[in-house]
């Protein structure tokens, strides 16, 4: 019998995709024994990120791994995927928010409305800064051209950051062509993996969010056509890949901070960083005004953060 073929595009470039997306795809291909064959493509390879979502709706692309924010999802959950400012502290917060606090239902529903089947979300690395010049105080952010996420960029612009959005694979060279002063896009593991550590000098340990929220999506018709046992394989392999990614990031962040030689660590003092945290509270309020779904999501973030702050470390930073 002819295998079912999917074209799958990930947000990640080849170097990163190797770790964050490819393991899941390889596992699916191996387990499906030729009944389903997924071909994996990296950032902007088939369609540019800006056109990715509609390509997924149409079926030019069958599956996608990305956050909602940078693929310009047309749903109201858009701003909350990726790095919603100061919403999480650790990667494990994400599955808890989705599976215990109800984000999963919201995501599934919103995407069903636009012809896309949402499969699963997971947390990845925090969003720190890696820059050419050091960030030691908030004033160092002023005038900084940073490659960052749309929503995070909007948030950071009140501190003088100039967010720049270009294709993912162009970011490294853009630092060298002077289009960028650095990135607010990832943790340190990614900086080393994709080569950004080679073009920037400093890593600022303050993060604007503790875990990236990224999801796997499939074109709804394609999903419906898939036999149940293959659906099961796809879902399980993706869940399993979350575990791999978590270790990879969590271990890498610690090791590279402790002994990486390419990036020097800096920090903004905690009492000064408080301004950013306070600004986030306001930002959340503003975002909640955007509509009913947004309000519901922000409330979930508030509830969860309430719980963790009462619980204390390790759920909080101290």
């Amino acid at each position: 019998q002819e295998p079912i073929r999917w074209r799958f595009q990930t947000y990640a470039g080849a170097a990163l995709g190797e770790e964050v997306t490819k393991p899941a795809i390889d596992a699916i291909n191996a387990a499906c024994q030729g009944q389903l064959e997924i071909e994996l493509f990296y950032a902007d390879q088939i369609v540019p990120t800006g056109e990715l979502f509609q390509a997924l709706q149409r079926g030019t692309i069958d599956g996608v791994h990305s956050d909602d924010d940078s693929m310009a999802s047309p749903t109201p959950v858009r701003s909350f995927g990726g790095y919603f400012p100061l919403a999480t502290k650790h990667a494990l917060d994400v599955p808890v928010l989705f599976n215990q606090y109800g984000l999963a239902d919201i995501w599934r529903e919103e995407y069903a409305k636009v012809g896309v089947h949402w499969l699963s979300a997971a947390g990845q690395d925090p969003c720190n800064f890696n820059t050419v010049n050091p960030i030691r105080s908030l004033s160092d952010l002023d005038g900084l051209k940073l490659y960052t996420f749309p929503t995070a960029g909007r948030f950071l612009s009140q501190f003088g950051v100039v967010p720049v959005n270009i294709p993912y694979e162009d970011a490294e060279v853009a630092v060298q062509t002077g289009e960028l002063d650095g990135m607010a896009w990832s943790g340190i593991t990614e900086d080393y993996t994709v080569g950004w550590a080679d073009v920037t000098n400093y890593f600022c340990t303050n993060n604007i969010s503790g875990a990236w929220i990224g999801s796997f999506f499939v074109n709804a018709e394609k999903w419906a056509e898939l036999p149940d046992h293959l659906k099961q394989i796809v879902s399980s392999a993706i869940e399993a890949s979350h575990t791999y990614r978590n270790q990879w990031y969590w271990g890498g962040e610690a090791r590279l901070r402790a002994s990486g030689e390419k990036l020097e660590l800096t920090s903004v003092p905690q009492d000064e960083w408080k301004q950013v945290e306070d600004a986030a509270v306001k930002f959340w309020d503003e975002m909640a005004e955007e509509g009913e779904t947004a309000a519901k999501i922000v409330q979930i973030f508030r509830d969860y953060n309430d719980v963790t702050s009462k619980a204390g470390p390790p759920y909080t930073f101290g």
């Binding site: 990120t49 051209k145 100039v162 289009e179």
Partner: protein, 173 residues
């Protein structure tokens, strides 16, 4: 025949005029980039300049495209072509222009879908902090591609006229 002549003069005239306007886009582009350098060096970098420059560039080459085609700017690989007589050239062009038309048509098809998408869901916005709406640039692209299509048809008509009556309208402008 007369309809063809009419078509050629209308389409070429319009595209000529539009192209003459678009060609000054180079100065708009310079202005934006200069403004951007000025602010970066002496004030604070601007959110919108790079993206705006990209939009202007799109307008420049898409709306200027038909005029460039009139000028014969689109290169050809003329290993054999250069040796052909004018009539044979016209004959080949009559056939090969169909490929061009098909390409432009499918390009436009994708463009229209993408433009329609840009009006849906409350309007597609660019995933940048500036967040401009995407429809203006997409509409511009669709218009430009359509004009490119019309221009390609006009080139076809010119070849047909030439083959039929020997009259050379190709350098009319």
């Amino acid at each position: 025949m007369n309809a063809m002549r009419k078509y050629i003069s209308v389409v070429d005239g319009f595209n000529h005029g539009l192209g003459r306007i678009a060609m000054y886009g180079i100065f708009v582009l310079m202005g934006i980039l200069l403004w951007s350098s000025y602010n970066k060096t002496f004030a604070s970098p601007q959110l919108w300049t790079l993206e705006m420059a990209q939009f202007v560039m799109v307008g420049y080459y898409i709306l200027g495209g038909p005029y460039a085609m009139q000028m014969g700017a689109n290169v050809r690989m003329d290993l054999f072509y250069a040796e052909l007589t004018p009539r044979k050239k016209a004959w080949t062009d009559c056939i090969t222009v169909l490929f061009l038309l098909i390409y432009l048509f499918i390009l436009l098809w994708g463009g229209i879908e993408s433009t329609m998408y840009s009006f849906k869901y409350g309007g597609e916005r660019s995933p940048t902090a500036w967040r401009p709406y995407m429809w203006p640039v997409k509409v511009t692209m669709c218009i430009g591609i359509s004009l490119m299509l019309l221009q390609a048809v006009s080139e076809l008509f010119k070849d047909i006229l030439f083959l039929k009556s020997g009259e050379d309208t190709r350098n009319a402008l």
